[in-house]
Structures are given as C-alpha cells and as structure tokens.
C-alpha cells in the first residue's frame, strides 16, 4: 500500500450511510493499519482489520458484512430496499385528523387487493414519502405505511396509532423487555443516577482518614484510628409498568427505561412489576401476566419510603378507572374501581411519580387527566425523567 492516500474512503462513507457509526478517528486508525502493511494483499485480513477498527458493537456486524460484500463482491444487499423504507418510516409525522366523511370517502379494500397493491406500490416507489395518499410513508392517507389514517389500511413497521390496520406487515413483538436491550440506555442510566441518595447506616468499617488524622493529632501523635460506616445508597424503587395494547407504540422507550433501571446497580432495592392499563388487585412479574403478586401484599412488603415510579399512558376507557368490574381483561372482575387502587398506591408511598410516554399536549384526555390528579405526571423523555427525579428527591 502506498502512504498518505485516502484509500477506500468510499467504503468508509458506505459504512456510515448504511448506519455503522464509524468516526474519523477510527478511520484514521484503519488507515494507519493499511499504511503499516498489516493488511498485505489479503481480502480476509482487510475484512478482519477493517471490522476490528471501524465497528465497535456486534449489533453492527451484520451491516458491516452487507457493506463489505456490496463493496468488494458487488452484491446488492437484498434488504437494502426494505431497510431504506423502514428508515423513512422510523420518524413518523403526526396523525392527520380526518372527519368521518373524509374517512368514509377513502376506499375500502379487501385483503388480497391490499396485498397486491402494496407489492405494486413497493416496486414503483423509490424515495421517502410522507403525507399524501398513494405512496408508502408516514402520516398520510394511503392504505400503506404507518401512523396514517385509512379504514382498511395495512401497517408497514411503526406502531398502531389508528387501530384499523387489517394486517401488520412488520410486527414488533411485545415481550419482556429485560433480556436483550442495551440500546441507548446510557443516557437514561446517567439520569437515574441522580436518584442516588447516599446515607450512612451500616457498621463502621471504612477508614475515616480525616477523622483519624484529627484524633491522632489530639492524641499527641499516638495513632487513633477513626472508622465510619461506608456510604451506601439507601434508595428503594418500585417500578410499575403498563404493557397494555395502547402502550405498544412506546415499547422501545419503555424498554430503554427498564433496562437502564435494571442495570443500575446503585439502588438498595429495585422491584419491577407489570399491569394492564390500570393497577388492580394484582400486579405481574412478566408482560404475559402469567404470574404475579397481590397488590396489597406488595404494599405490606414495601415500606412508604420506597419510591414509586409508574410508567403508563393512562389512556383507557373511563370505566376502567371508575367502575367496578371495569378492567379491560374480560375474565378479570375487579371489586373496586381502578381509581381507588391508584389512590391507595399514592397514599401508601411518600414519594411517587407517573411517567407518561404520551406527549403532554394529549393529557387533556379524561382518563389521563384523572390519573394526573392522583399522581404528579411527567413526560417519559430525558427532560421529563429529570423533572420526575427532582420531584422524587424532594423531602428525601
């Protein structure tokens, strides 16, 4: 290899274009390896060395492989087209509001016709499209795409905002968040750290250097060792999460919060349970509601000094909050209305907050407003989280 020449610069830009976050610093590292002749004339070595210097997470290995084979072997990544479409869809526009007349004016299609037109449209389309009524995109009135309005529309990725999609072309499965998610939890983790409340209660086992020096000085230079209890976080946190159907669009955000809270090892106790739309007699260990714990037992078990964090959109049918037997699950007959359970939680814990993934402008919805009267409510954004934490820290 000759020196100084920006070799394979287009490969670097290809990586960046398809979403591998390689930086200039890493590129220079790779170029240095080239210049030192480490790659020699071997494509295998090029592959290994480029990957080791440019890719810093195994989640990008697959993208790197596609870029590599595209660049050197000329294969067209088969997923390229759909991937690009997914990227347009990732950032949806707000939902258009349509009058019933407008809705009725949109044609109704049967499933076969819909599938056929979807495939035809996919073939014709070659760029991102938002709004409008034909192309696959977001926030429009075409039967394809997501975050749009169409009476018998078909969903392509994204989330169910209007719930009339006949078939879900790409579905995001909603299971326990715990296992695999490590994406972007760092910011949340740092925010959660502010929750730390350090207190000294344990046995005196740690050397107090300053205290020792002072005691020794007072003792005319004869050593007097002073000990103090180590500082440990005293904070106990209970996290209750709504995993109801209307929470689907927020799965990613909620799972980020969850994995960050779970990875944060600085709480003295951390408990997490699930519920569906509203908390009633029982809360659940998993998002499939297969096993759980009585809410009253939970309250007996966790003292009032535990901080309660509820995550939910509080978006439900009014009777789920106000009526006996109003729970959304058909087989569940609750003896007391949901709002009584919420009040019970609120009264038991000295400090509690409700994090709502819905933007604040939607909080005028009746059930959200009612829940907002029970709990201090914050948006589930980084800023909202910080406000919530400030609120939880008060009278700590």
């Amino acid at each position: 290899m000759s020196t100084g020449e920006p070799l394979f610069l287009d490969f670097f830009f290809l990586l960046r274009r398809i979403g591998v976050p390689a930086s200039t610093r890493e590129w220079l590292m790779f170029v240095e390896a080239l210049e030192r002749g480490l790659v020699a004339a071997s494509l295998d070595r090029f592959y290994a060395i480029a990957r080791a210097t440019l890719v810093k997470h195994e989640r990008y290995y697959d993208l790197f492989d596609q870029a590599f084979s595209h660049y050197f072997l000329g294969t067209r990544p088969p997923a390229e087209l759909t991937r690009a479409i997914e990227a347009w869809l990732e950032d949806p526009l707000p939902l258009p509001t349509l009058s019933p007349e407008e809705l009725a004016a949109l044609e109704h299609l049967d499933l076969d016709a819909l599938m056929k037109r979807f495939e035809d449209t996919l073939r014709e389309q070659d760029e991102r499209h938002d709004g409008g009524s034909k192309w696959i995109g977001t926030g429009g009135r075409s039967p394809f795409g997501h975050s749009g309005v169409h009476p018998t529309g078909m969903r392509v990725g994204g989330e169910s905002r209007s719930r009339s999609a006949v078939q879900v072309a790409a579905q995001r499965r909603f299971v326990d968040y715990r296992d695999d998610l490590v994406l972007d939890t760092r910011q949340v983790g740092i925010a959660l750290r502010k929750l730390r409340r350090l207190g000294r209660v344990e046995e005196a086992t740690e050397l107090d250097l300053e205290g020792t020096i002072e005691a020794t000085a007072r003792n005319c230079g004869d050593i007097e060792v002073a000990l103090r209890p180590p500082r440990e976080n005293q904070l106990k946190v209970l996290l209750l999460m709504d995993v109801g159907g209307s929470m689907d669009p927020f799965a990613l955000t909620v799972s980020r919060l969850f994995s960050a809270a779970h990875a944060a090892q600085h709480f003295r106790e951390f408990h997490a349970y699930y519920f569906h739309n509203c908390v009633y007699e029982r809360v659940y260990d998993n998002a499939r509601f297969s096993s759980g714990k009585d809410t009253l037992e939970l309250l007996r078990w966790l003292g009032p000094d535990t901080r309660l964090v509820v995550v939910g959109d509080a978006h439900m049918a009014p009777w789920e909050l106000t009526a006996r037997g109003g729970a959304i699950d058909y087989h569940h007959q609750n003896d007391e209305p949901g709002v009584v359970w919420l009040q019970r939680l609120r009264r038991h814990f000295k400090q509690s907050v409700w994090l709502n993934p819905m933007p604040q402008r939607f909080w005028t919805h009746p059930t959200i407003a009612l829940v907002g009267q029970q709990f201090p409510m914050f948006e589930l954004t980084l800023a909202g989280l910080e406000q919530a934490i400030t609120s939880l820290r008060q009278s700590a």
Partner: protein, 275 residues
C-alpha cells in the same frame, strides 16, 4: 517485525480474533473483547502473554473499582502506622505508593500484557476516567507530582460482558472484537484440546445435543463452552457412550444451572430426535 499472535495449543483463536490481537499490538491500542460468558475472553490474555512470552498484569474490575486503583494506591494508613514505630522512612511519600496492574506495566522495562477484566462491572464513568491514561500510556501520581510514562507500551486487553453500554469516546479508542459463539466445527477443535481421547462419534452426538439445548428459546441461561467441556468430562468418566445419548441427556445438571431450565427441557421430552 511485529509480534504475531496465532493462538496456542490450548487456546484456539479464529482468524478474525488473531487479526484483532495483531492490529492492537501493531497500533499499540487497547483491545476490547466482548462475548457471551464462557467464550474464553479472559483466557485470551493469558494465551497472548504465553505465546509472546510476556509477563501479564491482571486487574479484576469490581463494582466499587476506581480507575485510579489500576494505576496506583497511596497507602496513608501504613505511613501513619510507620510514623509511630519508625520502621521505614516516612518522610518519603514514594515508599507508600503501591502501583496497580496498569501502573506496573507502564513502569516495566519489558513489554507486557495487561488484562482489565470485566470493565463493565464498574461505574458508568469508569472507562472514561481511563481515557487519557490508555491514550498517552502515562499518568501522574498526585501525591508526589511524579509523571510516569510507559517506556514500552503494553498490550492492554479489556473484557466486557455487556452488562452496561460502554461510552462512545472509550470505544473509539479501542480495537474491538466480539467473540461469537463457536460453530460446531471450531467447537469440536476446542473440546478436543481438553479431551483429546474422546471418540469422534460420541463427540458428534454430544455436540448435537449441546447445540439443540442452546437452540431452545425458553432457556434462561444457555450452556456455554466451559459447561460443555465439563459435561464431556463427566460423560467420559462415567463411561457413557452415544447409545445412552440417544435415549436421554445424562448429567444434565452440568449443562443447565437453573431449575426452570431443567424443567423446561424435561417438558420437551426427546425433542432433539426430530433434528
């Protein structure tokens, strides 16, 4: 000529892993190794040290570890104690500076290997606190003002179990390699290192069961390489052959460590025969 790592008799490294180690050696950058538990992340450092005939300094990171501890610790208590009995010269603070794994490697006159094991166990900011020291391979002892710069830059190998995301600034400075779970072919070679006398038929059957178990989605903890090695040892010592394996999976407790997982496999019955 650069040092060249090719794997050792007891440590089989994939070509990509070999390249990653060699790039890290040539560019004198830290090497970050990630992978499932039991894929030999920690053993890699020992194998590199062994093959390159370099001494190894190990730093096991804990949740309470501070970045500075890898460089040095100032033992104020010992100094205070000595001031009382006058055993050593307490006027010289240098007598009470103890160097950590990185510190010792920087000071040494010969090239070495430093293993920073399980870096993700520590605080989120831990890796960032080491950025300068790893970049410049130099540090200052605050108590004395002494600056120590590596005479010969050691190879720093950092392992992570992915418990926490590492900061981007840190990642950008590292060479990275993810040890994927070995394919059956490579796995057979790895296992043979530990059990050279195991018969081929038994090994094939055992590997088939092992990969079947790993494919079960309901398992909470999938068995890893080290558990496979233990299990094969148990099979060989128990004098069991492939005929037994066709009937059942003996010593299942060697492979699965969670009660729920054992129950899950029991529920599956002899599901592997379908494969």
């Amino acid at each position: 000529m650069y040092d060249n790592f090719t794997g050792t008799e007891s440590y089989i490294a994939s070509p990509e892993l070999q390249e990653a180690v060699n790039v890290a050696l040539a560019l004198q950058r830290p090497l970050l190794i990630k992978g499932e538990p039991g894929t030999g992340k920690t053993l890699l450092a020992r194998a590199v040290a062994e093959q390159l005939k370099r001494p190894m300094h190990t730093w096991h990171v804990k949740s309470t570890s501070k970045a500075i501890e890898g460089l040095y610790v100032y033992d104020a208590v010992q100094r205070l104690q000595d001031s009382r009995f006058g055993d050593r010269d307490v006027r010289d603070i240098r007598n009470y500076i103890r160097f950590g794994a990185l510190g010792r490697a920087f000071l040494a006159d010969e090239p070495s290997v430093v293993l920073i094991d399980e870096v993700d166990k520590a605080d989120l900011e831990f890796p960032n606190d080491l950025l300068h020291e790893l970049d410049q391979m130099s540090f200052t002892v605050t108590e004395t003002g002494d600056v120590h710069t590596a005479k010969i830059r050691p190879l720093v190998i950092i392992t992570s179990n992915n418990e926490k995301e590492l900061p981007d600034a840190f990642l950008r400075r590292c060479i990275f390699h993810f040890i994927a779970f070995p394919e059956p072919m490579l796995m057979a070679r790895i296992v043979k290192v530990h059990h050279p006398k195991v018969r081929g038929v038994l090994l094939d059957e055992a590997l088939a069961r092992f990969y079947w178990l790993r494919s079960l989605p309901e398992l909470r903890k999938r068995p890893s390489t080290s558990e496979l090695v233990d299990w094969l040892g148990a099979l060989v010592r128990g004098g069991l052959d492939e005929a037994t394996l066709a009937e059942r999976i003996p010593f299942l407790g060697t492979l699965l460590k969670k009660e729920q997982d054992l129950e899950a496999v029991a529920r599956r019955g002899r599901g592997w025969t379908k494969h």
